[in-house]
């Protein structure tokens, strides 16, 4: 199988996953969504009619008025296609199409910082902040992790190797969000170094907003790095140990190439493919975990948006955010797959 065919196959799978996730989301929230939409339609029509004094006075009895309202609601519901159940193929197709084209509709309760209730605008406002926090964290984690991992691999069973390995195992057993609560407790209340809530208290239009945002980012960033770099170092160490046992490295040692050079240029280069793949995967994994982390730190990104939307059951936001989170997740999984296939041709042949 050629590389192009491999990519095409992966892309089709990913698209399938996106559709399956969407379908599952719609199936899970569909019936709730319908009743909410119907309620809002009837509310809207009642309001329209009570505001129209001329129309209101043309009815002689309240029965007539009620009948008229009922008819209007029925008409509106059928014109919106709400008379069909949510699982009718026509409606599912329509809503899938709408979501695919990023038309998520309007939020019921939540708004963006600028006051818009358009779900697309809300998401576009929150997304960069999530990306900012989590890519920065992943970048720092991978640099520290690769550095520490290489050192541990070169000095197997030394003190630094043992410390790194045990730190990796211990740090990964604590839930990130719990460490977050602890960090807030220690560094925001016990020793007030950082602000407790990660949401800047000045409006986004203020020129100092970015600096304030970065200041508020410090605590979540430190927490993510603290919890993440240990297991990264451990992973890199294990990959490198595998490579260092291979014959070509031993041969180079025999020739007399200096150990440091073997480690940093030859061994690390050969361990790169799995490292890069795991990097892409861990980025996607951290996006999924963003919901709890952001809720703990009150970081104004996608995760907290999702958490808030769940709290008030704002379905359009939930569907939109799930879609965007899934899409991001899939893109990084896809990139990881492609990189792996590129570096390791054996995968393509499977």
């Amino acid at each position: 199988m050629g590389f192009k065919k491999f990519i095409a196959k992966r892309a089709i799978t990913m698209f399938g996953v996106l559709m399956a996730t969407l379908l599952l989301t719609i199936a899970l929230v569909g019936s709730n969504m319908d009743s909410i939409l119907k309620q809002s339609v009837s509310l809207e029509i009642r309001q329209q009619i009570t505001n129209d004094k001329g129309l209101l006075n043309s009815f002689k009895t309240t029965n007539d008025l009620d009948l008229y309202i009922q008819n209007q609601i029925k008409q509106r519901i059928s014109s919106l296609g709400l008379d069909e159940p949510w699982y009718s193929p026509h409606r599912i197709g329509l809503s899938m199409y709408k979501i695919l084209t990023l038309d998520f509709g309007h939020a019921k309760f939540l708004t963006s910082d600028t006051g818009s209730s358009d779900v697309k605008e809300i998401i576009l406002e929150k997304l960069p902040r999530t990306i900012l926090l989590f890519t920065t964290a992943t970048a720092i984690i991978s640099v520290v992790g690769i550095f520490l991992g290489t050192i541990s691999a070169s000095k197997l069973n030394s003190k630094i190797d043992k410390i790194t390995s045990s730190f990796a195992i211990i740090s990964s057993s604590f839930p990130v969000w719990w460490v977050g609560v602890l960090m807030i407790f220690v560094f925001a209340f016990l020793y007030p170094v950082f602000p407790a809530r990660a949401t800047p208290d000045i409006p986004p239009t203020d020129p100092g907003y970015l600096i304030s945002l970065l200041n508020h980012m410090a605590l979540p960033l430190i927490t993510l790095v603290l919890i993440g770099f240990g297991s990264w170092a451990y992973l890199v160490r294990n990959f490198l140990v595998g490579v260092l046992q291979e014959d070509f490295i031993v041969a180079k040692k025999v020739i007399g190439i200096d150990d440091k050079r073997i480690l940093f240029s030859h061994a690390l280069k050969n361990a790169a493919p799995p490292i890069v793949t795991v990097l892409a995967l861990s980025l996607s994994g951290s996006l999924g975990g963003a919901i709890i982390t952001e809720a703990v730190f009150d970081w104004p990104g996608m995760g907290r948006l999702y958490y808030e939307a769940i709290g008030v059951l704002d379905l359009p936001v939930i569907i939109g955010a799930t879609y965007v989170l899934t899409a991001f997740f899939l893109v990084s999984v896809f990139v990881a797959d492609i990189l792996y296939g590129y570096f390791d041709p054996r995968v393509r042949r499977q």
């Binding site: 195992i169 839930p175 602890l182 919901i291 958490y307 769940i310 997740f329």
Partner: protein
Amino acid sequence: MSFSSRDIWKDFSKRGTGMVGIGILVILIAVSIITFVTIPQESFKKWNDPANWLSYPKSAAPSWINYFLAQKIPEHLILMPHRSVEKIGNVNVITDSFETNYYYSSFPSDFIYKFKTTYSGSPLLQISVTRPDGIELKLDSISLPFSSTKTEYSNMVFSTDPMIAKNVQYDISMMKLPNDIHLYDDLAFSKFDENKVLQGHYVFRITMYSMGADTSVYESKLILGGKVYGLMGTDELRRDLAMGLLWGTPLALFIGITVAIGSVSVGLLYGVFAGFKGNITDESMMRFNDIIYAMPALPLLIILAVTIGNSIFLIVGFLVIFGWVGIAKVSRSMAMQIKTLQYVEASKLMGQKDHKIIFKHILPQLLPYAFASIAISVPAAITTEAGLSFLGLGDPTFPTWGQLLHDASAYNAAARGMWWWILPPGIMIAITGLAFVFIGNTIDSIVNPKLKR
């Protein structure tokens, strides 16, 4: 690739981390069993019932912190009465006196008098306190509801009752004592010229005056609310956190182990079947596997918990749905290797049925790997459930560790410095996770020759 269980155990028992893991696990299981045997099941069901926790102090730190402090924090005191009965004319007088030597430098958080009584008519209950300085304060007098027949009655008198404050203020003004202190429920214990505790011997007298001779008072006790309590302290809702942590242990083990066993067995069967069958079956099964594998688990788990339900059994089921995929991938490739072995091919040629080959020849080979995977997937299950509970999407009727942390964050425990509410549940989660990681990694390094060094 074949291992006998005895070989594995022999190798396992030589490894330090694995034995540490087993040790922790044994302790956790022992704690679970002790919890089930010694603590009445009712305390578990009444975890969310505020009435059950009334005789506990509010937001109290663990009592052992007093060992580290120069100025002792008042402990939670439950006082038992000395009873004296006398008859004045035809009035029956029952007096319960509670004595205590109060030598703490800070005030009790509150005090509660709790009693049950049977009476007829309408008795009068009076509460007063004699302080170390000899002053007697009348705190409260209550007439119990009239009843012409003999009835049973139980009640609690709280120090926060505004009537007590009024009575005390009246007493003070009558005695012309200096008074510029406004915390009335502290007043019984306060010096009158400054807001400090008057240390010494206190006697609380609760007197019941009744006409009938058939009046009796029982289960009478006076609770001086402390600021430290028990081994683990209490939370904002007066719940004993030691109870929550203890009940959390079997729950966490149940969630972790059930999810791990469930997802590993599903994954193992799925993967082995796909790998053994090969061709189109394999291809389509693995595509489906890919789809589940690439789904973002947490958002979907949240939606599932919100729309379908958040009972603990449902959550276990949801976690299995997202837990089996990785194991299916690995066991498929292992099955593909094993099926090319000669004895499998031979049994195929002999006309052995597929399911027999799978269950008799392939699955037993994968068992060591399965045990390692079970141990390794336990921590993830526990942390994910804790995470869901922390977001408020878990089963609120069960005091899991995540639920404790959720309550802690809901009542702003971090901002109020209530470290005893935040630290222990997280540490328990981590310790439980570590035990399984140690065990899993050790089994894995034994059965997986690649990792052997």
